[in-house]
Structure formats: C-alpha cells, structure tokens
C-alpha cells in the first residue's frame, strides 16, 4: 500500500487515471472499454471470456454500462441509466487480493482509519451469463462502492483457476471523494482557467433523452423481433465456430432484453423464458470459446494448469 494518494478533490478523470495507474503497477493489462451496450463490466470479453478456461489473466479497464430500467430522466441525483464501472480482474485470484483492493482505495485518498470499510457478503449470480460467484460488496461508510467476486462458474463452466473480479462504481466513489450529493455536480475535469466541467455538463442531457427513449419510445414489437434476430445470428455463428462474433450477438440480445424490461413488456413468467434463452446462448459461446482456446493450446496458462486442463478436455471427449 505504497501508492501515492490521488490529489485532494480529485476529479472524475483523476480517479480513473489513479485506478489505471495503480492496477497497471500491479501487473494488469489496461485495456479500453468494449464498444457495445452492456449492463456491466462483467460482460466485457476481458472478463466474461477470460474467466473461462485455465489461462492466467490480469486486466483493468473502464466500462460504460447501460441499465435502461435505472434511468430517472436526470431527476434522481444517484440513479443513471448510463454510468461507468471500473473493472479489475485477477486470475488466478491472488491470496492478498483484499489487501490489493484496499491499497487501491488508499491510492484514491481513502484513509481506512477514518472511514468504515467493510466486506459484506454478496453472492453474485447472473442468470443470463450462466455465472455465479461468491464475494462481497465493499462498503465505505455504509455506501456500496465496489463489488468483489470470486467467479465459480461462467457460461455454465466451472472456473479453474478462479478469477477475482473487482468492480468499482466510479460515480459513487467520486461522489464520496468529492463530497457532493448529486452525481451531476461531480467535477469531471478542471480547465486551466480554474473553471470546471461537471458530470452534468457531460451527461445530463443524455440521461433525460435516453430515459425518455428507454421508457417511452423504444419500439416494443420491433425489439421482440430484434431479439429473435440476434438469437438466430448467434446460433448461426456458433455453428460456424466463431465464438467471439457469436458472443457479441449475445450481448445485443441481452441489451434488447433489458430495453424490453424497461418498457415493462415482459411479465414475471415470460422473463424467466427470456433469461433462459440468453443463457442458452452464453453457454454455447462459453463452450465454443473454451474449445477455441484449447485448440491454441491455452497459450496464457501456467504450465502445470495448462497440461491439467488439456488432459481433462481430452478425457471428456
């Protein structure tokens, strides 16, 4: 925990830079966001796909995330339909992963002897990703600022080695650090003349318009058919042995489902069926991805685990 704390009153972008620097120092590949609509950083192939199979992996990145149902037309100071997550994945999860995480908070200027930091049980499950894991929400003075998960299963496949996933809610963390009550008041950047650009300047209009679209204009009938299309496309691509493009179709289907959900077009029972459909796709993708990596001989795996995994696959054939 020797990182230099971020400057007091760190801007939103300082925060991102501080986290990138911290995790970069700890051996992570800093990659860029996925250029598609996803509900969370977990959907980025750098997490979902890399968690599958025996290969080692360390990465950190920002992921813009969309959750149409969370939109509040820019009126709620804490709820957004579009927001940012900072995601770190460490595979295999190191023994000192909690200490590493706490080190990152200190790098952001959080003093653990002033603030009440807690790891509170949180069992994560994503039915659409066929994934579950155990871990915690991390509370900072009662506020959930991160999620901490040890993946046990992804795409219906057992995880070995286990990926440790750390997800920071950037807006919440920033609101805390900058001590503001509304997300729109966050300082995003400071100009050279001392004036600043706020989160509201950057995103308020977007929240208003996108909420309106999500809740009022999204064409339900068309979305249903779009969902069907992506499902077909995914299956076609899986048959053609193209797991990566197939995965993108899954993401599109998943986001379409979220939009339909925001339009309250899906009942409780129907919901179950849609989730099952997406899960079937992600399972297909996970298996295809695992096989494609096996064909390459799992190049990023640690030697002992690599041989073990190849032998296990051979045996199951």
């Amino acid at each position: 925990m020797t990182a230099t704390p971020a400057p007091k009153g760190a801007t939103f972008q300082d925060l991102i830079l501080a986290l990138q620097t911290y995790w970069s120092k700890h051996g992570c590949v800093v990659i860029q966001p996925l250029d598609m609509e996803v509900g969370a950083g977990t959907f980025h192939p750098a997490t979902f796909l890399r968690a599958i199979g025996p290969e080692s992996w360390k990465a950190a990145y920002v992921q813009p995330s969309r959750r149409p149902t969370d939109g509040r037309y820019g009126e709620n100071p804490n709820r957004l339909q579009h927001y940012y997550q900072f995601q770190t994945v460490l595979k295999p999860s190191p023994d000192n992963i909690q200490e590493l995480y706490l080190g990152s908070l200190e790098a952001l200027g959080v003093d653990p002897l002033v603030h009440d930091i807690r790891f509170v049980e949180d069992n994560w499950e994503s039915p659409t990703l066929g994934a579950w894991g155990l871990g915690w929400e991390v509370w900072l003075d009662g506020m959930e600022v991160s999620q901490f998960t040890y993946f046990q299963q992804v795409g219906g496949l057992e995880c070995y080695p286990v990926t440790g996933e750390l997800t920071y809610g950037l807006e919440r963390l920033a609101m805390y650090i900058q001590d503001v009550d509304s997300v729109y008041d966050l300082i995003w950047a400071t100009n050279s003349d001392g004036t600043s650009i706020t989160y509201g300047d950057v995103f308020h209009q977007n929240e208003v318009e996108q909420s309106t679209y999500n809740f009022e204009h999204a064409d339900v009938d068309h979305l249903f058919s779009v969902f069907d299309f992506h499902e077909r496309e995914c299956n076609k691509l899986l048959a053609a042995n193209l797991p990566l493009p197939a995965y993108e179709q899954t993401l599109k289907a998943s986001h379409t489902f979220n939009l339909l959900d925001a339009r309250k077009a899906i009942s409780v029972t129907e919901r179950q069926r849609f989730i099952l459909r997406v899960r079937t796709l992600t399972r297909g993708v996970a298996e295809a991805y695992l096989n494609s990596r096996a064909k390459l001989g799992f190049p990023l795996a640690e030697e002992g685990i690599r041989l073990e995994a190849l032998a296990a696959l051979e045996e199951s054939k």
Partner: protein, 693 residues
C-alpha cells in the same frame, strides 16, 4: 492424566454474517463429536471436566476447550473366543475355529490365552496422545459445516465458505503441527483489519480472547452482540428515541463487526410522509440500520448504524452514512409521490400486458376471475360482494407501481396506501393489503370480510389454474408455492371460522378457467379438493393434533375445513375421556366384523329377535341416543355427540362379554350385525374411531 487447553482458530476472509453463528456452533459441535468418537464409551466421563468456548467474528471461527485430557487413556480390551474344547483336535493341533478367531483379531496363536473355559484375546491398548488426533477431528468438523455454497479461490481446489488465510492450533503452548484447508497451523493470529495490522502471537489458549481484545477484536459473538445492544440503547437515549432492535438484524450486524461502534445519523423529516414500512425496509435491508420511533411508534428521522472502527473522524463516517440513506429514501419518496399521480383504477389496463402464466393468461384476466370468485365468496360469508369485486379488480395494480417494482416485499401494502389516496372504500383498501396474508407460517390472517374473500379467491384461482394445466406441485418443485397457498386457504377458513365448502369453492373457481377444457373440469376439481385435504395433514402436523386423529376424520373426507376441524377437535377431546380406549377397541372390533360381511346397507333391527339382556340394553341405548344425537349432528356439535357416544362404553363392553354375534340362527346373527352396524354408523357420523391408535 494431565489436562491441557486446546485452541483452534481458522482465519478467513470475511464470512457471511447471517450464517456466522450457525457455522460457529456447528464447528465446535463437530469437534466435540469427533472427540467423543475417539474417546469411545468413556467419552462422557473423560470430557466431563472440560469447558468449551466458541468464538466467531467476520474473520475467524475459533473453539477453545479448557481442561481437555491430553491423551486417550490406556485400556485393556478382552475378547472371548470359542470354547477351549473345540479349539484343538485329538492331536493337539489348532482347529479351524481357533485359527479363525486368531485371524479375525489379527493375532498369532501364542498371544491368545484361556479364560473361563474359552479362548481369550486380551490386548493392552497404550495411551494415545490426543494432539495427534486433533487435526483429523478439526478437519472433519470443517468438512461437515452447514455451508450452503462452498467456494474455491486462486489456483487450488480447496473449498470453504470464503478463502482461508491462517490457522492457529494449540495444545497449551505447543503448536499442533498440521496443514488444513491449505494453511499451516501456527500460533499467530491477526487482529482488527485496520486497527491492528501486526501479527499477534498466542502463547497459550488462555490468553487468546484478551490478546484479541487488545487488538480491537471482540472475539466472543454474544459479548459483541451485548455490546451492540448497550451502545444502540445509549445512542437512542441521547436522541430521546426508542430503538427497535430486531433479533435477526442484531445477529447480522454482530456478524459484520469485530469492534462495534454505534453511531447515530439523521435524515430529512420530509421523508416521513412516505409509508414508514418502506423507509424501515430501506434502512434495514439495504443498510442494516436500526430504526427508532417515538413513544407512539411513529418513525423518527434517525437511524443507528454500527461501524467497525474507532474512527479518527467520526463525523465523516456519520456524514457518509447519511449520504447513503438519503438517496435511498429519496427514491422511496419519489416512487411514492409519483405513483400517487396515477390511480390504481387506471392502472388496470396495464395488467393486460403482464402474463400471469402463459396458459392462464394475463394478470388482468386473473384479476377478473378473482373478482368473480371473491364476490361469490363474499356472498357466502355475509360480506359485501361489491367491495370484494372492487378489491379484486384493483388488488394487483400495485404490481405496476414503481414502489413495488423496486421493493417487491411492499406489494399489497402499497396497494393499500394508494387505494386510500385514490379515495377507495377503507375496507377495499384493507383487503388489498390483506390479500397476501398469511405470508408465512404463524403470520396474521385477513381481518375484513372483503380481505378474507379476496385472499381465498386469489389462492384458489392459482391453485385450480395450475392443476388445470397439468402443473401441480411435484416433489421439491412448487414454483407457485401452491402448497403454502393451500395451507393459507385452510388456515383462513378454519381459524376465521368460515362455513365454506372446498368442493363448492373449487368447482366455482375451476368453472372460470378458460384454459381448462369443459370435459376436464370435474376431474380437476376433484384433484384439487383431494390435494387440499391432504395439505390439512401438514397443517395439523404443525400443531398439537395427533396424526391418527387427522386420519380418523380424513377417512370421511368432509370437504368443509371448518367442519373438518370441529371433528378433529371433537376426536381429540374424545381421546381424553376415560372411555376412549375401550370404545376405540370396540370400534376396531365392530369394523373388523362388519368388513367380513360386506353389508352394503343398513339392515333393519327386529327388536323381537333381541333375546340377551346385553343386546336389549345396547339397542335401548342406541335408540335413546339416536334421538339426542340427531340435533347435535345438525348443529355440528361433534364434541357433544362424541361425549354422549362415550356413554356407550359399558353397554358395548357388556354386549361383547355376553353376546355371541355369530349366533347359529342366521336371523339372530343378522339382527346382531344390524345392531353393530347401527352403532358403527353413529360414530361414523363424526369420524372413523377405529383408526385411532
């Protein structure tokens, strides 16, 4: 034999707070069980002097046993073998029997001796140091912990609740050398995550608790819980409020701390206009805060939270918590205010878009069916049919409000508030809340007639619908919780004393389902009634009613639950009477006799054929009783009827002592059977007493 203090502490990453106590108890119970198994038949005596103490915090499970014997004492085991005379043949060679015995005990013949004319194997079992056995005992106990989901971490295949980080295992000052769950045992533990970061050496088990205390860890769960209670009360006193400390929340919070420090925060008074259940839910479920009220039970704009740090700047921690709860309450407030803008009535249309179940149609369709059925039931229980209909039509509309979308637990309750806001009738509003009652075993029941009608209709509709489309609950699969729904219906009818017939209700409900083909309707109705009567068994099993009492009544399959219940209570009362046992035996006897005769209808009794004094007496008694019993049956006074029937004990005993039923003269025989038939029929108007044990 010396005694030692034993300590085991498993250090982990933060454990789940709700299961912490359960894990802790199971851990020590498992260790004690393991010790008992090793110590054998003398375990009780050998362990009598030791005392066991459990410790549980988010980061550790520990057990200390003081005054534990340090070894399994030496013992002598003696096994008797075959008689000496069959052990050797005439030439003095060992027989098969002898060789077999030696083999079975894995000993050489020379090691055997003789005792009381038999071959004997006496073995001196040396004392065994317990230290060597402890790792196995601890490991086994850990593997048996009641863990819902075990997890793996890193690149290993070990599984536990959360990653395992260290292990302390001591016999007095001696470390028990072993490796469990991937960690090597030692004598170093860790203190509070932030207050005390240096490792702590535990020199002997006796100093464990005190050393941790100095490192900002209250290791004992109940001491920590007590401290929290004291602190919460102190905080509440400072702001002149009454704290509400619910046990489940208290336990959970205790499981989230090693060094609890209670702090009080406040929120804007304006939020108090939101139904307080929503605010309490926000505080409790999301933030694990204790809420406070004034003397009248009105929520106060404060909360008490338990932090896990002696902060260098307490105000920052409080401000942080206030910052968290504000948006949560603001959300609740926003939903409430926004929801109120649209009346429940105008939300009905929206229910057309929500599928209740694919084959059973939309929630709108269900509401329509509920309305018809609820109205009918209201008529049967002298309620207001129009109110029942209205309540049913509005009952599900709160499902499309933002508040319920966000806090599902508030369904019904929000409907109640919104209905009042819309100016609906109070009883209609009340019924919308009551439709989901009882929510769990022992929960309150609907109180209004409209609520009763709606609660019954909603459950019956789901029940008949799911059976109708061929999806009754099977094994552990009961996605619509039909079993619970059924017990709900039964409880409501019985405990609110409603004179309703399941058969009639179910038929009414089945008739409304378009998804059930006309020709299947009768069959489905029968199935559902049968299922419901079977659930009565579960209902009674939870109470004090003996199962054979239930069976005696169930044999008659009365389809009015209240009537069923009156019979059950009558039989239970009957069983407390002195005459019960002999009458039960008599009923069994009569039942056996009649079963062999396969009589299909009541035979006439010819009093001219009655000759024996005992049968004449019985006939007189039956005739006299008959007249008195009829009005009792009419008014369902089964208890009175059975008490009266108990007076038959003597005449029946006399009858069986003195009268030969299977008389030679067929006419006399037939007449006596007729008498028994009549007797049996009288009991069967209430229950089949012959089924009692």
């Amino acid at each position: 034999m010396a005694t030692v203090d034993f300590l085991v502490e498993l250090g982990t990453a933060e454990l789940p707070p709700i299961s912490l106590q359960k894990l802790s108890k199971a851990f020590s119970a498992g260790i004690m069980q393991g010790l008992k198994a090793e110590l054998g038949k003398d375990a009780q005596t050998l362990l009598a002097a030791c005392s066991v103490e459990n410790f549980a915090t988010p980061r550790r499970l520990a057990v200390k046993i003081s005054g534990l014997i340090d070894e399994i004492p030496a013992s002598v085991s003696s096994v008797q073998g075959p008689p000496l005379k069959i052990c050797y043949d005439a030439d003095g060679n060992p027989s098969k029997a002898l060789i077999g015995f030696a083999k079975k005990n894995s000993v050489e013949l020379e090691q055997l001796s003789e005792r009381d004319g038999k071959i004997n194997y006496t073995q001196q079992i040396a004392a065994k140091p317990l230290a060597a056995l402890m790792p196995g005992i601890v490991e086994h106990s850990l593997s048996e912990l009641p863990i819902a989901k075990r997890m793996r971490w890193g690149a290993n295949k070990i599984e536990f609740v959360r990653p395992v980080q260290w292990l302390v295992m001591l016999f007095d000052e001696r470390v028990i050398d072993c490796e469990i769950l991937g960690v090597q045992a030692g004598n170093q533990t860790r203190g509070h995550r932030f207050h005390h970061q240096q490792p702590i050496t535990i020199n002997n088990p006796a100093e464990y608790e005190a050393k941790l205390q100095r490192a900002y860890v209250i290791a004992n769960f109940s001491k920590r819980r007590d401290k929290i209670v004291t602190q919460v009360k102190q905080q509440a006193e400072l702001i002149n409020c009454i704290p509400h400390i619910e046990d489940d929340l208290l336990d959970e919070v205790t499981g989230l701390n090693e060094w609890p420090v209670a702090l009080t925060g406040a929120f804007d008074k304006e939020f108090l206009s939101v139904p307080q259940e929503a605010l309490i839910l926000s505080m409790k479920e999301h933030q694990k805060y204790f809420y406070t009220t004034d003397e009248k039970g009105q929520l106060m704009p404060n909360f008490i939270t338990i932090s896990n740090i002696e902060s260098k700047d307490v105000s920052k921690v409080i401000a942080g918590n206030e910052k968290v709860i504000r948006p949560r309450l603001a959300d609740a407030n926003f939903f409430f205010e926004n929801d109120k803008k649209i009346s429940l009535e105008s939300r009905c249309e929206k229910l057309k878009k929500i599928i209740f179940q694919q084959q059973l149609g939309t929630v709108y369709a269900k509401s329509q069916r509920n309305a018809a059925l609820a109205s009918h039931i209201a008529g049967l229980i002298q309620g207001d049919q129009q109110k029942a209909q209205r309540a049913a039509l509005l009952a599900k509309t709160d499902l499309v409000t933002d508040m319920v979308f966000e806090f599902t637990d508030l369904q019904g309750l929000m409907g109640y508030h919104y209905a009042l806001n819309d100016g609906e009738d109070t009883e209609v509003a009340q019924a919308i809340f009551e439709q989901y009652l009882p929510k769990f075993a022992g929960d309150q029941l609907p109180a209004t007639k409209t609520g009763l009608a709606l609660a019954l209709a909603d459950r019956l509709d789901t029940l008949t619908g799911m059976f109708g489309i061929g999806q009754p609950p099977t094994g552990s699969k009961d996605p619509f919780a039909l079993r619970r729904a059924t017990v709900g219906v039964l409880r409501i009818i019985i405990e609110q004393k409603l004179d309703l017939d399941l058969k009639q209700l179910v038929e009414l409900s089945v008739a409304q389902h378009e998804a059930i083909a006309a020709e299947d309707k009768a069959k489905v109705a029968k199935q559902v009634v049968l299922f419901m009567l079977e659930r009565l068994r579960a209902y009674y099993e939870d109470g004090t009613i003996r199962i054979d009492t239930y069976l005696a009544v169930a044999a008659l399959a009365p389809s009015r639950p209240l009537d069923f219940d009156q019979r059950v209570n009558a039989v239970e009362h009957f069983r407390s009477l002195a005459a019960a046992q002999s009458l039960t035996a008599a009923n069994k006897r009569v039942s056996n006799i009649l079963d062999k005769q396969s009589l299909d209808k009541q035979l006439p009794i010819d009093s001219a054929l009655l000759t024996e004094a005992a049968e004449i007496e019985l006939d007189h008694c039956l005739t006299a009783l008959d007249a008195k019993l009829m009005p009792m049956f009419e008014s369902s006074d089964y208890r009175g009827a059975l008490t009266l029937l108990a007076s038959l004990q003597q005449p029946i005993d006399h009858f069986f002592d003195n009268v030969m039923v299977m008389a030679e003269d067929p006419a006399v025989q037939k007449n006596r059977l007729a008498l028994l038939q009549k007797l049996r029929q009288l009991f069967l108007r209430i229950a089949d007493i012959s089924l009692l044990n």
